[in-house]
Every structure is written in structure tokens, then in C-alpha cells.
């Protein structure tokens, strides 16, 4: 084979290789898009992002209203005072420094639950918009942790927030409770209370 033929064969082989890689990458990308697992997980991403965007839109509207109220008020000092008091109450709820009440759900486990179970559950409740959480009567706030001592039954977890969202969210098929695999009684209530952090 002369040099020219070798060059042609080399070029054709290179083109063939490039095409083959292109084809395999396209197929793999296409497969990723139609694989049920990937589609379901992308749907979860969309759901989560939609929820976050809606929450942020609410927060933006709330802040804009406060700012407008302050600007329009003839008694700006009084408006500032009112807003500061409300903000202080919100902060106290989030920090767990005040007892709280409100609608929500109470979950009672009749079998031992692990640290991982409780971390998964509190994480899921936060994701469902829980505004206050307690575990066996102790407030679970931003800096709380769960140790390895194990939790003997009955274990009670209370979450205050949008009752319907919390209730439907934890009962969702394939959701958090299915993942935990521990029998649980769920009671939705219009009025739950929890004490302040110790």
C-alpha cells in the first residue's frame, strides 16, 4: 500500500471512529433521558425547584409589602416597631426560643427508630415546609443534632406547618415513610403545641 492509500485509509478510519463516538454519546444521552429512573428524578428536581421558586416568590411579596408599608406610613417609627416585633416573633419560632402552637401533624412510631430514620424524617419535614419540629418533646432547630442512643418506642415527632401539605407529603406512596419502613401512626391536627428549646 502506498503512502496516499494509507492516508486515505487513516482518514476514513478516523472519521469512522469519530462518528462511532458521536453515535454512542448521542445514544447514551438519549437513553438517559428516557430511562424511567432518570425521568422520575428529574421530575423530583422540577418539583423541588417549583416549590422553592413559589416560596421565594411569597417571601419577595412579603418583603415588598413591608417595604411599601414603611414607605407609605405617616408613622414610620410605629410601622418599624410593628415590623420589628413580628420579625422578632418569627426569629424566636425559628430559633426555638419560644413555645409555639399551630396546625400540623404528629407521628408516633411504635418501634425503635434509628438516628438515620430521624435525620431523614426531619429533613423531609423541613422540605415540606415545617415551621417548627420537635422530637420526643425536644425542639429540633437549625443547629440540633440527633445522637446514636437509639429511640425506644413510642417515639413522637411533631411538625407545625401547612397541615395538608405535611399530611399528604409524609403519606405519599414511595415517600419518606415508605423509605423508613417503620410502622407509624399519623394524626393531623388543627392545634398542636410544642415547648421552647431547653
Amino acid at each position: 500500500m502506498n503512502r496516499r492509500s494509507a492516508g486515505v485509509v487513516g482518514a476514513i478510519a478516523l472519521a469512522g471512529g469519530a462518528l462511532l463516538v458521536w453515535q454512542l454519546r448521542a445514544q447514551s444521552a438519549a437513553l438517559a433521558l428516557v430511562t424511567p429512573d432518570t425521568s422520575a428524578q428529574t421530575a423530583v428536581t422540577v418539583l423541588e425547584l417549583t416549590r422553592t421558586r413559589d416560596q421565594l416568590a411569597k417571601q419577595r411579596a412579603d418583603l415588598a409589602t413591608k417595604l411599601a408599608t414603611l414607605a407609605a406610613s405617616s408613622e414610620q417609627a410605629q410601622a418599624t416597631h410593628d415590623q420589628a416585633v413580628t420579625a422578632h416573633q418569627t426569629n424566636q419560632i425559628l430559633l426555638g426560643t419560644t413555645a409555639v402552637s399551630g396546625p400540623g401533624i404528629q407521628l408516633t412510631f411504635e418501634k425503635t427508630v434509628t438516628t438515620a430514620n430521624l435525620l431523614d424524617l426531619t429533613n423531609a419535614l423541613r422540605n415540606l415546609g415545617a415551621e417548627a419540629i420537635s422530637v420526643n418533646g425536644e425542639r429540633f432547630v437549625g443547629t440540633s443534632w440527633i445522637d446514636e442512643r437509639g429511640f425506644e418506642p413510642p417515639v413522637s415527632v411533631v411538625a407545625i406547618g401547612d397541615q395538608s401539605l405535611l399530611d399528604n407529603g409524609v403519606r405519599q406512596r414511595g415517600g419518606i415513610l415508605d423509605g423508613l419502613g417503620v410502622p407509624v401512626a399519623i394524626v393531623a391536627s388543627d392545634e398542636l403545641t410544642m415547648s421552647a428549646r431547653q
Partner: protein
């Protein structure tokens, strides 16, 4: 001599024909893949979801920036309008609470931790999951960390860490491995906890058995603030 060359040229021609045929087949299948009518293509739902996720990501970023800006404007307006001495004290208390809630950045000594998938990760094997991140954070709080962030997202009372496909959603923002966890606190205590706390035994086993990458070092850190605000609609203080 001639009889030796001729079969060789035939072979080359045959080889070229074979290569040409393969290229033709690949090209045709590639073009067919691209021209599948959208209404019947099984790719459409997946593509639509991916595009929706991208649009939502941009929308979330824009909302967060707007919330951030409004918070600053409101704080400035309140500071300017404050009247009595008592209200000044209340605003100072609010500033301290905002700091405790993670709405301001914090600087100090701490530990920087890196978690990354194993080079031989397959499926769930060797992959850093949302639960691994939660476990590490749980241990850091247990050992008195004063502020924590994961890939720049501050851990606050409303933070959830959610697994979604090959990424993780934290505070509603998409992020992916490698994960850098930064925690302020006693570097000695935090590093010892990462090495020995029994709550991290399952994670350490993943590092040993599955090759998940884990590193930690002490450092001077600035943990960023949470970019968002808190809205309480259902809970009431008693």
C-alpha cells in the same frame, strides 16, 4: 510478485468497503435519531423536564437575588425610621438573631471537608448521597460547629438536603459533587469527630470499601449567609 500484490490490494479495497459500510450505517442511524418527529419521540418528556429544570433554576436564582435586595432595603429603611430607644434595642436584638439564624456571613477558624464520588462509582456504589452529607452535618452540629455551609449554601433552620438524580438540592438550589462542607468551630474537636464519631461509621465504611473520597483540613473560613428570608405562616409563638 504480481500475484502477491493483487490479493493485498483486494483486501484493502474490501476493508475500505467494510469501513464505508459501517460509516454509512452509523450516519443513517444518527440522522434518523435526529429526525424522529417530536410528537412521537420518547425523548420529548425527558427533554421537557430537563428544560423545565433549567428554566426553574434561573427563576430561583432571580427570586433569591430579588429577596436578598429587598431584605437589605428593608433593613436600611427600618434603621432609618427607628424611633424610641427601646426600638433601637429591639433592632439590635434582631441583628443578633439574624446572625444566629444564618442570615449574615461568619468568619473564623474551622474545617473544610471535601466529599466526592469514588472514581469507580457505579449506580449507588461509591456515590456521595444526600444522606452522607446530612450525617456529616449532624456530627458537626453535635461537636459545636457554629456555622456550616455546603457548596456555598448556608445551613439554616429550614434547610433540607434532597437527592435528585445525580445532583443534590440544598436550600432549593441545585448542586453536585464534589461537596465542600465548611464548618466554623474548634478545629481539633471537629477533625477528631470526623475521624472517630460513631455516627459517621457507615460513611467511613463507604470511604474504605467503596472508595468514596473524603478529605478534611483546618482553615480560616468565611461561611456565606443564607440567601433568602423566612416566612412563618402557620406557627404562632405562645
Amino acid at each position: 510478485m504480481r500475484s502477491l500484490i493483487l490479493p493485498s490490494r483486494r483486501l484493502v479495497l474490501l476493508g475500505l468497503f467494510g469501513v464505508g459500510a459501517v460509516i454509512g450505517i452509523v450516519l443513517v442511524s444518527q440522522l434518523r435519531l435526529r429526525t424522529v418527529p417530536q410528537r412521537v419521540s420518547p425523548l420529548v418528556p425527558g427533554l421537557a423536564l430537563t428544560q423545565a429544570a433549567d428554566l426553574l433554576t434561573a427563576s430561583v436564582a432571580s427570586e433569591r437575588a430579588a429577596v436578598d435586595q429587598l431584605q437589605q432595603q428593608l433593613a436600611a429603611a427600618q434603621a432609618a425610621a427607628v424611633g424610641s430607644q427601646a426600638d433601637r434595642a429591639l433592632l439590635r436584638e434582631l441583628t443578633a438573631e439574624r446572625d444566629e439564624l444564618g442570615l449574615t456571613s461568619r468568619t473564623g477558624r474551622g474545617v473544610s471537608i471535601t466529599l466526592a464520588d469514588s472514581p469507580r462509582a457505579v449506580g449507588a456504589f461509591g456515590v456521595v448521597g444526600a444522606a452522607d452529607i446530612r450525617d456529616v452535618i449532624n456530627v458537626l452540629w453535635r461537636h459545636q460547629a457554629s456555622a456550616i455551609s455546603v457548596n456555598g449554601e448556608r445551613m439554616v433552620p429550614t434547610t433540607a438536603i434532597v437527592a435528585a438524580a445525580d445532583l443534590t438540592i440544598i436550600n432549593g438550589a441545585k448542586t453536585t459533587q464534589p461537596y465542600t462542607i465548611e464548618a466554623l468551630g474548634s478545629t481539633r474537636e471537629l477533625l477528631e469527630a470526623l475521624a472517630a464519631d460513631p455516627l459517621l461509621a457507615p460513611f467511613r465504611a463507604k470511604v474504605t470499601l467503596e472508595g468514596v473520597r473524603f478529605g478534611s483540613r483546618s482553615a480560616e473560613l468565611t461561611v456565606p449567609p443564607y440567601r433568602g428570608s423566612f416566612l412563618i405562616e402557620h406557627a404562632r409563638s405562645l
